[in-house]
């Protein structure tokens, strides 16, 4: 049984369907990314998973418990950080954490210890007595992560936690998440910063217009996407092709311009780049033709295979 299972989730608001039959799952100790354009249904899905909303169809389970039918028990297992931090005015950092520790029914030494642990883990020691409103965005975000951790949940649901943070705060936050995953916590995180998710996540779910476009380990999705490229998107999406030569070749620009799959050819010394339109087979045929034409190729880099490209490849940029 997976730690988190989303099965056939649908959420309608009147005639508008925010989430359309999405399913995915992941295990404890994993960081799972949730990617999609604005308005794709990410926050709605996360709210349902956090027991704050009810699906129109389908179900989500956390450690085998339904988020609708067993919401009370699920709530003790999760820590949720909304896209707005959810901080109170006129409260110090310590009071804020103390309030949530009390609300989670932690008493006496257990509460003091929980607050101290969280303060230490999130490195908030020097800010204990500061008013929350005076904190920087990065510190507020740490505080809110601390609030999520105060009752030692098994799953963290983080809705765009890195939005608006400076690079240092982002890197530090990423490190905290890694540590938490190592402790066995499952983390479900949505973000617009795809490079960050690629580095951090064990798997991702990509959503567009409420529909799940792909889900699973990043490597698997890439492999699937590359394998399907011919079948699905051949000739549709152009990508950049980079060529490196072992020695100078005078007719390089001319040979490249003759190739029908290439456009926008640029040659600079021993390197060249061009826009390539075609699938895997077309790329293989192109390389063969270039070698036959005597081009001393030693390196051909096809489409780059990072998460951003994958996202661009799988989604069409439509919003609901």
């Amino acid at each position: 049984m997976s730690m988190v299972e989303v099965k056939g989730l649908v959420r309608r608001f009147g005639s508008f369907t925010a989430v359309k039959d999405i399913s995915f799952s992941f295990d404890a100790g994993q960081i799972y990314g949730f990617i999609g354009p604005n308005g794709a249904g990410k926050s709605t899905t996360m709210r349902i998973l956090a027991t704050l909303d009810i699906p129109s169809q389908g179900d989500c389970t956390i450690a085998g418990l339904s988020t609708v039918d067993d919401a009370d028990r699920v709530r003790s297992l999760i820590g949720y950080m909304p896209d707005s931090y959810g901080a109170y005015p006129n409260m110090t950092v310590e009071e804020y954490l103390d309030f949530f520790a009390r609300a989670y029914r932690l008493r006496g030494p257990a509460r003091t210890r929980a607050v101290a642990d969280v303060v230490e883990f999130c490195q908030l020691g020097q800010l204990r007595d500061k008013l929350i409103t005076t904190l920087s965005k990065g510190m507020k975000q740490r505080l809110c992560l601390g609030r999520c951790l105060i009752h030692d949940p098994k799953l963290l649901i983080l809705d765009e936690p890195s939005a608006g943070l400076d690079p240092r705060a982002r890197i530090e936050f990423r490190e905290l998440l890694r540590l938490l995953a190592e402790q066995g916590k499952a983390i479900f995180i949505s973000s617009h910063i795809l490079a960050e998710l690629e580095e951090l996540c064990h798997g991702v779910a990509i959503i567009e217009q409420g529909r799940l476009v792909a889900s699973g380990p990043i490597g698997e999705i890439k492999a699937r996407a590359m394998a399907n490229r011919d079948a699905v998107t051949s000739g549709v999406l152009p990508s950049t092709l980079e060529l490196r030569l072992a020695e100078p070749f005078a007719r390089l620009a001319e040979v490249l311009a003759e190739q029908p799959e290439l456009s926008e050819v640029q040659v600079e010394g021993l390197a060249a780049s061009a826009r390539f339109r075609g699938g895997n087979a077309a790329q293989a045929a192109l390389v063969r033709r270039l070698v036959q034409a005597g081009v001393p190729l030693y390196h051909v880099a096809g489409r780059s295979e990072n998460l951003e490209d994958l996202f661009m490849h799988l989604t069409e940029g439509k919003v609901q």
Binding site: I54, D69, F100, L131
Partner: protein, 544 residues
Amino acid sequence: MTTPTALPEPDPVAAPPLARDGVLNRVGRWSARLAEHSNPILVRVVRQELRSRAFISVFVLLLTGGTIAALITAVIAANDSQSQSSNLARGFFGTIAAGWAFALGVVQPMGCFRAIATERNEDTWDLVELTGLRPVRVVLGLLLASLVQGLLYTSALAPFMVMAYLLRGIDMLEVLFVLVVIPLGGIAVAALAVFMACLGGNKATRGFLSAVLGLGLLFAWMGSCGLWFNLREVGSVLDELRSGDAAVWAGLAAWLNAWAAHLVVMLVFSSALLAFRAANRSTGPRLAWCGLWLNGLIWAIIIPWMLPGYASLDERLSWALTGYAIGGMAHAGLLGLFAVSEDYELSPRQARSISQARGWRRPFMLLFGPGAARGRLAWLALAGLTLIVAGLGWMLSGFEMPPDIGRSNRFSMAVVCWTMCCWLGILFVVGDLLYRGWLASWFPTPPLRRGFVLLLGALWMLLPPIALKLAGFEIEDNALSWFSPWSAVWMASEFDSDMWRPFLLFSLLGAAALLVLLVQGLRHLKLVTHRIVARDDDHNPRGG
């Protein structure tokens, strides 16, 4: 080189001296325990409010206002030898009481409203919900925080009140009256404010309710100012209180009882409104509503005992019970309106609240458990009890019958009660038939069904009598009048022996409706669960 020596054992931090366990230590330990188990919302809101600009401004304003009023009073008292110290004291006391009433009756309840509304408008409410903190604790915490704030406002004005009393001219009972009425009134209004904040499902509704509440409180405060400056008006009542007048004491007790009942109802209803949709949101309100009914009945029994009158105790009790039965049936009708229109199917959580009930809770959940089946039984039980009360009242009158009703109309009152019961039954059955049958797609949710039944009842009340009137018939003398709720109650209240035949026919119809409700209730008692799903008309929090 020196060898490191072992450091001495540190003294235990702040270890209480056990040998000398004085009162202060015990109080300290007790208060630490109290603080430990305090309501988290109370702790948070008090911490926040004490730093808030609004609290500090009002506190300083009260203090400054009190000081200025005290200075003016002192100057007048020193310069004007003709001025009567009694009037001066009353004017000063009235000013302080009006300021106090404004803080406790306007500022503090609006603060309570804002606390919930702001929390619900922003994502912080989600975070509180996730902690598993029960809604009743949230509401109670807010009320307690408002109480603490009220105490602090009081502390700002208390010295001025003492000064006004020392000027002589105000009776201690008048001071006590103000000391009781303003704080209790403030708490009652704060409870209402919390309820209204919970009532608004979205930001716009809450904004509207906030304006309504603010204006209402402001007008109520302005109206109350006359009282604070004319405390002599309540002097006669207070004198009667001092002399031990039973009626005045009964009135005071009834007032305090009404205050407590208001608090309980507001707390329970606010909590139900805040509770998760799939949770059991029926038991609390039903129980509170039945508790109110019982509370009223106790008063109906006690008052004839407390207030000796012209007639015998049986006579007085008979009047009180039949009179109460009419109000009690209307009260039961509201329970029915809410309980009958619930869904038959329960969410798994709601079903668990019934199936996991053990011991005395098991039979208790038969009536107070969630769902339309148990709702029907709850209504029938409460209506049945009300009829028994009416019957007892009639019995105590010696079972007077129509030929004698010129002498007294307790029989008519019992008939009114029965007529109301029949009509409620008929309305619930017909409404149920329509909103679960042909009109099911129009009225899919309990709130819509309730609205439909109210509309149906209103139309049924008005249209037949209007039609009769337009057709040139007299409503009073027409047998058909029994078949419209309002005119039927009217007919019943003036019951005479000519009405037996249509009344019996109508009663048969009413009894059949009650039987249908009973059979429906029993048939659906078996727990059938379905997963609660989102409604399509739900507000999209991300939709702007």
